[in-house]
């Protein structure tokens, strides 16, 4: 492996999904096999490349690739530990979602377009993860908006279009605020690479007010995608998209992009010290805590499965923000690992919701009665993921909540501990009734729109496999959290690097 070759690795990772995506656009609707082959080829290549990168980063390498762009702000792709966390998450879940989507959209129209944008969306996400400075981040952030929009409106129904409009209104405004903030920060300190400890400390005393303003603008911009409280309105609407899209949107791409941006902003742009000096962490933390409670509270009243899941996402993603905003290493581990755990759990839940909708035609919670007997595997996966969301051990959700809790105590934020406990209660209050309906209530009448998608299994194997894979992952990530391959150990590595700068 020559270093020359390696320096193109970040670019290659992005291209491995971008190029198949672009080719897929040109395919005819009937070229199903070719399309699937291209998709899977892209996924495989990407996974292999990511694996190479992972090994190298673990050994301490940092990848760097840049193209000139704006004066003082190149387009930088950078592969460090933090970006790799997100890259691995999105690549692995992309694999799952691609298989799921192939099964889900079998025989539906406009699949070339769908898969094309799907690949673009992942490319943007990975690019965002790999971007090495704020300007590159901004670029991929906006591209992500554009790439996901066609997916949101894919169904083309009036509701989908309305949701798409709303999605755009929110995300474009967010992107714009981010742009304003980035420009402001750029005018103060330029846009160097992300670096642990941040790079604004030199001007903290001089431009405190402007830095706070820039932070506020950028958080507002990122908060739209991360669905922070007043900016969350698009998310519940966007669930009209097809299930794989919702899964990707909620678990990986859009929502996480915002959360990931917040992580980058706090640790690698401002840095812990400057955050403390500028007193920025506290408001962010409180905002996120409010979002946690509000999202859970609103989820209680939702009668639509996906809508309830959407509000749950609003709540769960803010755990990441809270973890980051508490500015302690343990809390950071909790927040970062929740990025992964929430992704896997939420994608499982959306897969399940998609399976119910596709196989039984069930969209409402009160239609789910007794579904556990008709679709046991799906229901088991749903139950596991729901318990994970509540934070019941030994699921992955427990691990992240555990570290968040430890972090809250370590940083003297007992209030946050209260928030976690209360939110756990609320999570239980909106997930357990569904589980109850699945398993304990008898089936009431016929299913709304039942289809037999498989002769032997409860539904199409392509719908089952990804879901089971992620469900098993939830348990494995929880039980083997301390082993070297778990997300937890990786986040500990990140936090070690993030907090050991000087």
């Amino acid at each position: 492996m020559s270093p020359f070759w390696l320096s193109y690795l970040p670019l290659a990772i992005i291209l491995s999904s971008l190029l198949p995506g672009l080719i897929i656009f040109t395919l005819k609707e009937q070229q199903v096999k070719l399309r699937i082959a291209l998709n899977l080829l892209g996924v495989t290549v990407k996974l292999v490349l990511v694996l190479i990168m992972w090994q190298a980063v673990k050994a301490g390498a940092v990848f760097y690739f840049s193209v000139p762009f704006l004066p003082g702000a190149e387009l930088v792709l950078q592969g460090d530990a933090l970006s790799l966390l997100f890259v691995v998450l999105s690549s692995v879940l992309w694999l799952a979602t691609t298989i799921y989507a192939i099964g889900y959209l079998e025989n539906s129209p406009l699949r070339s377009r769908f898969f094309g944008y799907f690949s673009l969306c992942v490319s943007a996400t990975v690019g965002l993860a790999l971007s090495g400075n704020l300007v590159s981040f901004l670029l991929f952030y906006e591209l992500l908006t554009l790439a996901t929009f066609p997916l949101v409106v894919h169904r083309g129904t009036p509701e989908a279009l309305a949701a798409g409009r709303r999605y755009l209104a929110y995300t474009l405004s967010g992107g714009l605020l981010l742009l304003t903030g980035v420009a402001l920060l750029h005018s103060l300190v330029q846009s160097p690479q992300f670096i642990p400890g941040g790079y604004v400390s030199a001007v903290v005393s001089e431009h405190a007010g402007l830095l706070q303003l820039a932070f506020g603008l950028m958080i507002a911009g990122l908060g739209v995608k991360a669905a922070l409280l007043p900016l969350h309105g698009w998310l519940p609407q966007a669930m009209v998209a097809p299930a794989p899209v919702s899964a990707l949107l909620h678990a990986v791409a859009v929502v996480k992009a915002g959360a990931f941006g917040i992580i980058r902003l706090v640790y690698d742009v401002f840095g812990v010290d400057s955050m403390q000096q500028l007193q920025l962490a506290e408001p962010l933390m409180l905002l996120a805590a409010t979002t946690i409670l509000y999202g859970s509270w609103r989820a209680l009243a939702q009668q639509d499965i996906k809508k309830r899941l959407a509000y749950s996402t609003i709540s769960q993603v803010s755990y990441i923000t809270v973890g980051v905003a508490m500015l302690g290493p343990l809390a950071a581990v909790g927040g970062l690992v929740h990025l992964v755990h929430q992704g896997v759990m939420k994608i499982t839940l959306f897969f399940c919701a998609g399976n119910y909708a596709e196989t039984l035609g069930v969209h409402k919670i009160n239609e789910l009665n007794g579904a556990g007997r008709r679709m046991p595997l799906t229901s088991v996966a749903f139950t596991v993921a729901a318990l994970g969301m509540i934070g019941i051990p030994p699921t992955a959700g427990f691990i992240s909540k555990w570290y968040l809790g430890l972090g809250a105590v370590a940083t003297d934020n007992s209030l946050m501990l209260l928030v976690f406990v209360f939110s756990g209660l609320l999570n239980a209050a909106y997930f357990l009734p569904i589980v109850y309906r699945l398993w304990f209530l008898p089936q009431g009448g016929n299913w709304p729109k039942e289809q037999r998608l498989s002769a032997t299994l409860e539904t199409h194997w392509m719908l089952l496999l990804p879901m089971l894979f992620t469900a098993v992952l939830i348990i494995l990530m929880g039980v083997f959290a301390s082993t070297g391959v778990s997300p937890l150990s990786w986040t500990q590595l990140i936090v070690e690097r993030e907090f050991s700068y000087d």
Binding site: A410, F440, A481
Partner: protein, 512 residues
């Protein structure tokens, strides 16, 4: 002992290291196994057996895991698995009361879970990332942690005022499930209290007297409440509340410096109560199903008497030991050991009242079943054998276990026999008096639905609202305004633009 710290988290491990764990493991697993054997026959004809066994197995596994856990997280995992899957046992019958009870159970279980979670977090961060029991013993406690732990585990242990789910859930569950709920799972909470709150901690000392008071109150309250109910399993549940009161007293005593003396008694009490209560619940299950021959009453009376602490029984030994502990432990002055002993005797009286009441109610139940179908069948014998097995354990227990044996033998001394027996006699007299005089409270005092269910329903409405407050959507119709504005636009673009230029010119020159 299995060391898992390389695989899982630091300190993770399973094993029966202490005597406490061993004893708990034996009586819990024994009870679970007997209950399982019992269920084989008892649940043979119920629908959805698979689900029953699934949850039974899960909560069994959880219970065993939490006992064998050498670190807090494993304990917590086992605890969660146990309490959540026990929900499946509670609601098994699927009827309305079971669903209501299950709802309450689950609400409280989740709450307890999270309270315990908070306590664990506080504790773990105080212990600086170590999770094994040994490390935790060294770390001082603080009041918040103590409160959270007591509340979180107490919700499982079920003493007053955290007992509210017990009288609802036990009657609703099938008999073997109630047996393990009351026998094993309640004890899991108690075990947690002992493990999480190591004795000798100065902060914890402050809690001891209050916990003792709480224990006594719980003991008395359980009995008095039970007298108002006529369903045998409810009475048994309240009996558990009352018995757990004594356990709480023991736990509190174990927190003092006298822990070494208290722990054997605590273990004995827990084991004794678990087995006896398990037997009683199983019996009540049989009793409710079919007409029983009269001699089968023995299966009731043996454990009942043990719990009523007649001399030579394990119960008597434990009560005596408890009385002894009061005098040997240093307690604040206002908790006079004499007064405490008196309270114990009063407690014994009340316990006796409870079981007499229960006996009457069981008989009533039998009577209501009408004339028997004839000979008891194989299933009944099978189930009876299970109860008998438990009773044998109960009898055998004091003889097998050295500390308990000594205590039992001391109960044969005359003064002790007197202290133990007068409450029973008094109770008998009292009951006889009541029967003779036909004293009764007005009927509406009996079998009242607990207001707890209403709260539970209210809580459910709160967290499953059909509608929620939302921001009022501002509905403004801008269309007319827009139309009016559009009408303002000039038809004649050329003239208007030219005029505008002239006007601008004039205005600008005027201002410049």
């Amino acid at each position: 002992m299995i060391d898992l710290s390389a695989w899982l988290w630091p300190g993770a491990g399973l094993g029966l290291v202490t005597e406490l764990q061993q004893l708990w493991w034996y009586f819990s697993s024994g009870l679970w196994l007997v209950a399982a054997v019992f269920s084989l026959s008892f649940m043979a004809k119920t629908p959805q057996k698979g689900r029953y066994w699934l949850f039974f197995g899960l909560s069994f596994a959880g219970n065993m895991l939490l006992i064998a856990a050498l670190d807090a997280i494993s304990f917590y995992i086992g605890f969660s698995v146990m309490s959540l899957s026990a929900y499946g046992l509670v609601v098994h019958s699927g009827d309305k009361s079971a669903r209501r009870a299950g709802r309450l159970y689950l609400q409280l279980a989740v709450m307890g879970e999270l309270l315990l979670f908070a306590a664990l977090i506080l504790r773990a961060s105080a212990a600086d990332g170590q999770y094994d029991w040994q490390s935790w013993q060294q770390v001082p406690l603080d009041h918040l942690t103590i409160l959270l732990t007591i509340a979180g585990l107490g919700l499982k242990a079920g003493f007053w005022p955290l007992h509210i789910w017990l009288p609802q859930a036990h009657p609703a569950a099938p008999a073997p499930a109630s047996a393990v709920l009351s026998g094993a799972m309640i004890k899991a909470g108690v075990l947690g209290l002992v493990l999480f709150l190591p004795g000798g901690d100065p902060q914890l000392q402050l809690w001891v007297p209050y916990m003792i008071c709480l224990g006594f109150f719980s003991a008395g309250f359980g009995v008095l409440a039970s007298l108002l109910y006529r369903q045998p399993k409810v009475i048994l549940a309240y009996s558990s509340v009352s018995q757990v009161g004594y356990v709480v007293i023991l736990v509190a005593l174990a927190w003092t410096d006298n822990a070494a003396a208290v722990l054997p008694v605590l273990m004995a009490y827990a084991a004794h109560h678990a087995v006896a209560k398990g037997a009683l619940f199983l019996f009540s299950g049989i009793n409710a199903r079919q007409r029983l021959p009269a001699y089968w009453q023995l299966l009731f009376w043996l454990p009942a008497l043990a719990l009523m602490a007649i001399p030579l029984s394990g119960g008597a030994a434990i009560k005596t030991a408890l009385k002894g502990l009061f005098s040997t432990t240093t307690l604040p002055g206002w908790l006079d050991s004499g007064m405490l002993a008196g309270l114990l005797s009063l407690g014994a009286l009340l316990t006796a009242l409870l079981f007499l009441h229960l006996a009457a109610m069981l008989r009533q139940q039998q009577r209501r079943l009408g004339p028997g179908t004839g000979r008891p069948d194989f299933a009944m014998h099978w189930q009876g054998a299970c109860v008998l097995l438990l009773i044998l354990v109960l009898i055998w227990l004091p003889w097998q276990w050295q500390p308990l044996l000594q205590l039992s033998l001391t109960t044969l001394a005359w003064p002790t026999i007197w202290t133990l027996c007068w409450p029973l006699v008094l109770a008998l007299l009292l009951v006889a008096l009541v029967r003779w005089q036909q004293w009764q409270l007005p009927p509406h005092y009996y079998d009242r639905n607990s207001s707890v269910l209403l709260w539970s329903l209210w809580l459910k409405r709160l967290y499953q609202p059909q509608q929620q407050w939302q921001m009022a959507q501002l509905q403004l119709n801008w269309r007319p305004v827009e139309r009016a504005l559009n009408r303002l636009a000039p038809d004649n673009v050329v003239g208007a633009s030219a005029l505008l230029i002239v006007v601008l010119l004039v205005v600008a020159s005027a201002f410049w």
